[in-house]
Symmetry: C2
Subunit: 397 residues, 2 copies
């Protein structure tokens, strides 16, 4: 009961904008006494701040203003990309307070080497957080692959994973990332919960928490593979076994190109990064392939533009099936695709316009992510914070 009420009170401050004990009581329906005592607990735990407000010339007691503590608990998000490592720290108000992104050759790399470097990135992010008075209370790591593991139950029935089961573009299988990372982290982070989550899921949640795309959407992103995630009424649709959101092998042209998966005509063969590069005969250079494609498209390279248009059409065909089936408010083009949106969206709009039948397709239904490739790491850090807001007793002791 106290646990639920602490969450109720913190949500009143965080989401309903209550800024006094009286408003907290109004919003929550708790008595003033109960609300006041729970507010005090949250202040003592460092989650809520109370600032005195001078009333200048007015008569009476100066009132105080409640707000989320911007020098309190924070979430540390980390990311293992195919060609980069990332970190970011998000405070209780969902503000991104620091971010780090560095190139890293993770394709086929020994997990231990990558995790060692990730721990160094985490240490740097921790320093920057501490300089701002922030204290990470949990760590979440975004990975481009399937996650699993001990699967502790988290809040709202969600599940917390610790293992990379299979990340084909990293070449990783059954890497106990949370445990291995924890031993390498600085002391201030070593005892925190560490969660491992799929980057497409976190990218989608980042749109929910930081974007302006509504609470019902299909998010499609690319980092080497094609990732997708479905958000229904503000909740990630995980599927019966947690594998939902596989759009890359949606059959687009069933009698078309052979796919290494054994099937034919999968979306990835038309809209995956490798497929686009090979369709326009660009050298598969190491480094930032998406930047290369964007540069060439901007320079009017005709084969590149044609390959991106073909990719956009394939994405549009696959997504029109998804829209007809799920009826989302928006389709969000995120991750690396967002950097290529200028050349992908015309073909997508054509196919969505022709094939969405549940209602007339409005071009505004296709939204390009403003978070772009930073979505997953923002989502990782924010997921830690959202967990604290949902259950402050985990921090308030």
């Amino acid at each position: 009961m106290r646990r639920a009420n602490l969450a109720l009170v913190l949500a009143a401050v965080a989401r309903a904008g209550a800024n006094s004990r009286a408003q907290v009581a109004d919003v929550t329906g708790l008595t003033r006494a109960a609300a006041g005592s729970l507010v005090t607990e949250l202040i003592d735990a460092g989650l809520v701040l109370e600032r005195g407000t001078s009333l200048g010339g007015r008569v009476g007691r100066p009132s105080t203003v409640l707000s989320l503590n911007d020098r309190g608990p924070a979430g540390l998000g980390l990311e293992v990309g195919v060609e980069h490592l990332g970190a970011c720290v998000v405070d209780l108000a969902n503000d991104v307070r620091t971010r780090i992104r560095m190139p890293a050759p993770n394709r086929g790399r020994d997990p231990r080497a990558a995790i060692g470097q990730l721990a160094e990135v985490a240490a740097r992010a921790l320093e920057q957080a501490e300089e701002q008075g922030l204290t990470p209370v949990g760590v979440a790591v975004a990975v481009p692959g399937l996650v699993g593991g001990k699967g502790e139950a988290g809040d709202q029935g969600s599940t917390v994973f610790d293992t990379v089961v299979h990340a084909p573009n990293l070449g990783w299988h059954d890497v106990r990332l949370a445990d291995e990372l924890r031993t390498l982290l600085p002391a201030a982070l070593r005892d925190l919960p560490v969660e491992v989550e799929n980057e497409a899921n976190l990218g989608a949640l980042a749109e929910l928490w930081h974007g302006d795309v509504g609470r019902d959407f299909v998010h499609v992103s690319a980092e080497a593979g094609i990732g997708a995630a479905v958000v229904v009424d503000g909740m990630l649709l995980r599927g019966r076994r947690g594998f939902a959101g596989e759009l890359g092998h949606m059959p687009v042209y069933p009698d078309g190109l052979a796919c290494p998966c054994g099937s034919h005509g999968c979306l990835e063969q038309y809209a995956g990064e490798e497929a686009v590069l090979s369709n326009c005969a660009l050298q598969d250079e190491s480094g930032d392939r998406v930047a290369l494609l964007a540069d060439q498209a901007r320079a009017q390279n005709v084969p590149v533009r044609r390959a991106l248009d073909k990719a956009g059409r394939a994405l549009g065909i696959a997504l029109s099936g998804a829209v007809n089936l799920i009826d989302p408010e928006t389709v969000v083009l995120g991750g690396a695709y967002a950097d290529l949106a200028e050349w992908l969206t015309p073909g997508m709009q054509t196919e969505l316009g022709a094939r969405v039948k549940i209602r007339p397709w409005e071009p505004a239904g296709l939204v390009v992510s403003a978070l772009k490739r930073e979505g997953p790491v923002f989502g990782a850090a924010t997921s830690v914070v959202q967990r604290v807001i949902a259950d402050p007793s985990s921090v308030a002791g």
Copy 2:
């Protein structure tokens, strides 16, 4: 509070199998006094029965046994099919107590004539219910089309509709079915809530309530058009605007056959009833087209078998996309398709096996509905009962 607790107590009897006041208290966590008083209310409202149990030679007070009242409130389900009308009555224990199905030429029929005949079917079902001591407390009508209307909020955030917005195979537009039907119903039904719902949604809910297909599935059915519905963790996925579940225009062969919808290669052009009939050059006879197809397939008619195999493959392609995206536990083949399952499922299994990538596809994941074409009308009646179980105060006053 009382409302929530009444629901808690009724659910203890209905779902948890509590059969004494003491067990109700244990299951609900209420005090014995509170549980006992709520049980008495439910008995007074006719929702719960208390039967004395003789203890034979044993010493002590004879105990009593609680159960749902099988002579109490019931749900009346009605159905407007393209070629039939239907009715059924379901009691509080979800048992189907009576059912009526009669041919009716509803394709392109004047709505008033069809609704008049539906009211007569309802009157017959009411008689049969009353003979068994049952009292309908609500009416739900399954229709093959898009529903809408005033959209009162129902329980659990679901919405209750009263209008057929568009039913292409009936040729109906903006028919205020609930209001028109109510004026024609016998007195005992005239003041009841009347809900209008899409038959594919109700067919899927019938599988949830009467079938053995789990709580996470994609249900695909056919009655003239192709209908689908997605159930996630026991809840119908309605989509942002209530239009989810449109599988018929999933692009299967994007460069393929033109569809009247204006697009190309939609599933309906390969697996819809009309498409199958025209693919095997069968006369489009009036009457039961599905029975005709089944008879011919059983009689080894090669073009019919080939057309059904082609339909099965197209269904398999469309559904493998849905499975990859949503990760359901099962795919359920229902409605008219269930009568053709013998010839549809081999092609479906082939495509699902080749194209589902989120996990190895197991043939047991494709389930043929045992309810077949009676799913929607069972679902309609049961939805009324489920509403009572979720909120008994609507009946208990």
